[in-house]
């Protein structure tokens, strides 16, 4: 064959690889140790980023050619799966075009065939096949008289059911292939769930192998799963690309096994990527997302970045202002996604935003001009400092923490409710470090009237409620699923749940008695008993009291177990406590947390910017959990001070703070703002005139307006109780309802005052704009509005003209107070 023809053939045969020549080809996870005859492990041929070799940018496994340098030790299949042959070492090489990558594979105990483990092999197979899922035998009632625990949370129960029930027909060690569990699941016998198991599959080999060995039982000696790891851990891909994932389990004895076949995969953002049941990721669109992996009650995450198809120049990010470390991290995140930041917000936008964000109030009209005319360079920082020392700041944050702690007269007598509220308010006023605040709540004792924090134990009366509410309030974790079984998609087990619950099992309540034996209304005494444990309902035993992922307390230890819990909260080894509050505070300023929802910190719900969250947590700890410092840091950042006006190139971004995310004012803030601008505060029964809704201690004070605009009921600890979304009913209320309309025509209101004082139209408009929008009207706006006001009195005089003018001004006020610019924080 002539040379050129050979060349041509070679060119034609090159697979269409999307990679650039020169990109690094790597094998992941890298060097392997295979231990035992059954210990196969797959290798993936991937490309990695030049900038960061831990970031995988493409999957070439399908086009790679795998070879083993030493097939007597280990062989490799065309998909990269390595299987042991004999003890020794072999290099496995993958070739893609002219690039190669290699991994060293060490084989140990190649002849050893350890017995099958019920816990570590059989149950994962049953879980993978779906036998024990909620819809099948894992349902609380089982299916057709055969009940397994949901996704294998109860190995002992499952073992008993499989080997002893149904007259022992489910397994037949003397004739394994005739075991009912195999005949049914392969479809050889009629099976309601259909044929789910292929007799040629590895799953079948595990099940039949375990039966043939006489069904070894789960025992306390089973090697424990230390962690589960997904590889590659970090991906940077483009839409249309796909990537296979591997899941490895690390056992306590040092062995690492490839369990990809038996893991569960889920995408956290299906707008960014999908993942199939085999762990193959398909990228859908730009953004950042993650794939969560579950195996045997352990989870891991794969982070995925999909940059914009037309990324902004790096000079854009370099030129964007940076006020503190938040900005370095935020701009790095934006740059990795190629999303350009908007320019800084102007002074009036910042002024209004800062007031609303930190105090829930509008800036006074007089402040608007003063701030605009202030030429000092540090005026924004000075404003932040001033706001953080205001009494409105205390009201606002006391209200917020009262939401979290469910301060309400629903279950508390009015005196107790006030006592609880006062505790919260005083804590904010003193800027109590967050761990100290939590400690005072968690370890509260004594009279609930004397110690307001103790009302926490009146609201949550049993260890179950305490476990679940405390977890959401202070850890941002919902543990409710684990009450009845291991959390099906999280790492929390039922054992952990009852270990945690047992920390609260000795709290006792006594109705308070006065000096002469009379019961004091609302007074309850919270005390701690010397004994008492909560029993794990499935296992019928008492779990040692144990904070999540921490050392258990000895069951027999005396003393208040809650103190150990409070100690653990404040321990820096606790990954949840500080993240939870930092994320809550962040969500206050940006409308959504770095983790969203703000109180859902489960491992499989990643932050939009993990590095930023981590830094905020470190900084919070370094400053003794000073909430005010955290707030000041956030407000001082250029990210917070960015314009809400999007650029064409960042208009699609709703998550990464390329522009300030606008949000509707919360119900209470809105009602107070309307009261302030109209100069007619809302009256609340039983409270003095001028009392703002943000000063209400109780969510049960009647207000149709607050309910219609999404005030939380404070019945369950959940950020989902509050709704800041607009609705038609809200629009109808603003248009026709009595709240706004009555305030506008009130004789004591702003419109009556302006007319009475004979203010010129120009002055009226300026007052209105400054008080409601924190700015002056533009000349365009004045040019349209002034003639319209003048027109209202056209051809009228005397009282008729005055009345007509007043109505026109009312209408202008109405228009401003229902405009988007007023209703939104922007």
């Amino acid at each position: 064959m002539p040379v050129f023809a050979r060349l041509l053939a070679w060119v034609v045969l090159i697979p269409p690889v999307a990679a650039w020549a020169g990109d690094t080809l790597r094998l992941v996870p890298g060097d392997l140790t295979l231990d035992g005859a059954r210990s196969m492990h797959r290798l993936l041929a991937v490309e990695t980023s030049d900038a960061d070799t831990a970031v995988v940018t493409g999957d070439l496994t399908a086009t790679a050619h795998f070879t083993s340098e030493n097939p007597d030790v280990a062989i490799v299949g065309p998909d990269g799966t390595v299987t042991p042959v004999s003890d020794g070492t072999a290099m496995i090489t993958a070739r893609v075009g002219d690039r190669t990558a290699a991994a060293k594979v060490k084989v140990r105990n190649a002849a050893a065939t350890p017995s099958f483990s019920f816990r570590n092999e059989v149950l994962p197979v049953l879980t993978r096949l779906g036998c024990n899922m909620g819809a099948c035998h894992g349902s609380a009632a089982g299916k057709n008289g055969f009940r397994l625990t949901l996704r294998g949370y109860g190995p002992e129960l499952d073992y008993d059911v499989l080997t002893r029930q149904a007259l022992g027909r489910r397994v037949r060690p003397t004739a394994p292939a005739e075991s009912l569990m195999l005949l049914k699941s392969t479809g050889a016998l009629d099976h309601g769930g259909g044929a789910r198991l292929d007799p040629a599959s590895p799953e079948y080999r595990v099940l039949i192998g375990w039966i043939a060995e006489g069904c070894p039982a789960p025992s306390a000696a089973d090697v424990a799963v230390e962690r589960v790891e997904a590889v590659p851990a970090r991906l940077r891909l483009t839409p249309g690309q796909s990537q296979q994932l591997l899941v490895r389990v690390h056992y306590a004895d040092g062995r690492i096994l490839d369990v990809t076949r038996w893991a569960k995969f889920e995408s956290t953002d299906i707008g960014v990527a999908k993942v199939d049941e085999h762990g193959k990721v398909a990228v859908v669109g730009p953004g950042a997302g993650a794939i969560s992996i579950w195996f045997s009650s352990h989870v891991d995450l794969v982070n995925l970045v999909v940059p914009s198809s037309a990324p902004a120049e790096s000079s854009v990010f370099a030129a964007s202002p940076r006020n503190n470390r938040i900005d370095d991290l935020n701009l790095a995140r934006l740059e990795s996604l190629g999303i350009p930041p908007s320019p800084p917000a102007d002074d009036s936008s910042f002024l209004r935003r800062a007031y609303l964000g930190s105090t829930g109030t509008l800036p006074p009209a007089a402040e608007v001009a003063r701030f605009a005319n202030d030429a000092s360079p540090g005026k924004r920082e000075a404003l932040i400092d001033r706001l953080l020392e205001s009494s409105e700041y205390i009201d606002y944050w006391a209200y917020k923490w009262s939401d979290v702690l469910l301060v309400s007269s629903r279950k508390l007598a009015p005196t107790s409710m006030w006592s609880f509220y006062r505790f919260v308010r005083e804590s904010v006023k003193a800027n109590l470090p967050w761990d100290e605040f939590a400690r005072q709540v968690i370890t509260a004792k004594g009279s609930t009237l004397a110690n307001g924090a103790a009302n926490y134990y009146v609201l949550h009366r049993d260890p179950i409620d305490l476990t679940e509410s405390t977890s959401v309030a202070f850890l941002g974790l919902s543990l409710t699923c684990a009450r009845c079984h291991n959390h099906p998609m999280e790492k929390w087990t039922q054992d952990q749940y009852y270990g945690l619950a047992n920390l609260f099992s000795r709290v006792r309540l006594k109705d308070g008695t006065g000096a002469n034996g009379s019961v004091v209304a609302g007074d309850v005494v919270v005390a701690v008993a010397a004994e008492g444990d909560i029993v794990h309902p499935r296992r019928g035993i008492v779990m040692a009291p144990q904070p999540l992922d921490a050392e258990p307390l000895p069951l027999e230890a005396r003393g208040d177990r809650r103190i150990a819990f409070a100690d653990w909260l404040a321990d820096t080894s606790n990954p949840y406590f500080d993240r939870a509050i930092v994320n809550r505070v962040w969500a206050n300023f940006f409308g959504r947390g770095l983790i969203d929802p703000e109180d859902d910190l489960r491992a499989t719900n990643p932050a939009t910017d993990p590095a930023l969250l981590e830094w905020l947590v470190d900084d919070f700890r370094a400053h003794k959990r000073d909430v005010k410092h955290l707030i000041r840091t956030i407000m001082a950042s250029a990210a917070y001070q960015r314009s809400s006006e999007p650029l064409t190139a960042n208009a699609q971004d709703q998550k990464f703070l390329s522009h300030y995310p606008i949000k509707r004012l919360p119900a209470e803030v809105l009602l107070d703002a309307i009261g302030r601008v109209t100069e007619v505060p809302t009256a609340f029964a039983g409270f003095p005139e001028g009392w703002r809704s943000l000063q209400l201690p109780d969510s049960r004070i009647e207000s149709n307006f607050l309910d219609a605009f999404g005030r939380p009921a404070r019945e369950a600890v959940c950020s989902c109780e509050r709704s800041d979304e607009p609705s038609v009913s809200q629009a109808l209320h603003l248009v026709n309802g009595n709240t706004l309309n009555e305030k506008l025509r009130d004789e004591k209101g702003v419109v009556a005052r302006l007319v009475r004082e004979g203010e010129e139209d120009q002055m009226v408009i300026e007052t209105l704009f400054a008080s409601a929008l924190a700015r002056l009207p533009t000349s365009d706006e004045a040019g349209q509005l002034l003639p319209a006001l003048a027109e209202a009195t056209h051809g009228l005089d005397g009282d008729a003209a005055t009345a007509a003018r007043r109505q026109a001004i009312e209408d202008l006020y109405w228009a401003i107070l229902t405009s988007k610019e007023f209703l939104f924080d922007h």
Partner: protein, 457 residues
Amino acid sequence: MFRLDARKPVHFCDGLTRRDFLHAGSIGALGLSLPGLQAAKATGRLKDDRELNCIMLFLVGGPSQLDTWDMKPNAPQEIRGPFQPISTSVPGLQISELFPRMATQMDKVALVRTLYHTATAVHDTGHQMMQTGRLFSAGLEYPHMGCVTSFLKGSRGDAPSHVLIPRPIGNTGGGMPHGQNAGYLGKTYDPFVLNADPSTPDFKVPDLLPPEYITAVRESRRRKFRETIDQSVKAFEASPDARLLDANFQQAYAIMSSQSTREAFDLTLEPDAVRDRYGRTKFGQSCLMARRLIERGVRFVTVNQFETVFNELTWDSHGSAPFTSIADYPTVIAPNFDNAYTSLIEDLHSRGLLENTMIIAFGEFGRTPKINPAGGRDHHPNCWTALLAGGPIKGGTVVGASDEIGYAPKDRPVTPAEVAATVFHAMGFDLNTDLPGPQSRPIPLVDRGVEPIYELF
């Protein structure tokens, strides 16, 4: 006299017109063979240019199949329960004695007796599946069928296209969404929610009309002022919440300005005898309002019989407080349903509206066949019954049979997804239509392969 200009219905944010959208959807249908559909068309039960309405009655709590529409008189006492079957207007078809009025109308009603789902047996999952056809996962919330209707068909004139009465489903214990809003379609397509009890003597729709001192001249001046202000800030164009607020105001004005919509909510215009016939209960008067809304152009009405399952008599008959017992069925719950449901069918029929109005009624699951020690029955998603009537539905049909104790379907099991497909199909939507999911990802109306229950047509 108060008068406002009619407003246009809400448009799609992406500038797509409805016609474009339906056209795009119908291309997907080319080359597909739908024998059942063809057959249904051939029998004349389905017309191509239908404008079908739908009323969904949600029987919150989950009625017991064994005590209502799938009785097992030959089962042991602890399973068959205390009630007797009675004959109906359809020879051979029996239902519970709890529904004497409904029995006279069964020639217009079809039963699906083999509905089941396999998700967790809590109320919320059933609410999701029965109202959207799907179980929610991965943070994706699917739209209610009525919201899909709003999205695909828009409103008819000034009438909102989907109205939810009297109130949304609240706490039913699971803490999950109930599938009663527009989900990923966005809040623009959420239903208009009444949020009031139409059976109360002083009932009026909250804030439907302006106070008398706001004249039409002032109203129009207010809107002009507001438009001037709203032009100023550009930040809002990219914000979904801000666009939603605009849509809300437009919709509010459309509702206010339409005399016919206002009258739809005014039950005092009905003769007392009619109101009595529906029952002077929240559900009874809501069903009457549903009829008035349909008569005035609303396409989809969702009526929740109850809003919670706690501390109230509902279908959630566990037997002990705070729940209901089976003994409460004949006194309150069943007559409440029988009167409202039957009157609705009778009225729509006599007004010629049943032909283009489908009424679907179901709970979120059935109840355990064996009566528990508290005298109740517990959650049982393995098998329950759905009622369908009106529109193209063939009355008197019974689809599927449960086993001898009503524990599981014996034949023809039907999923909530198939019920949704049936509704969409009846409404004339191409099941291959893709809806725009998060970030414009196409999400099929129903999962591929899910078919309508063709036996009903």
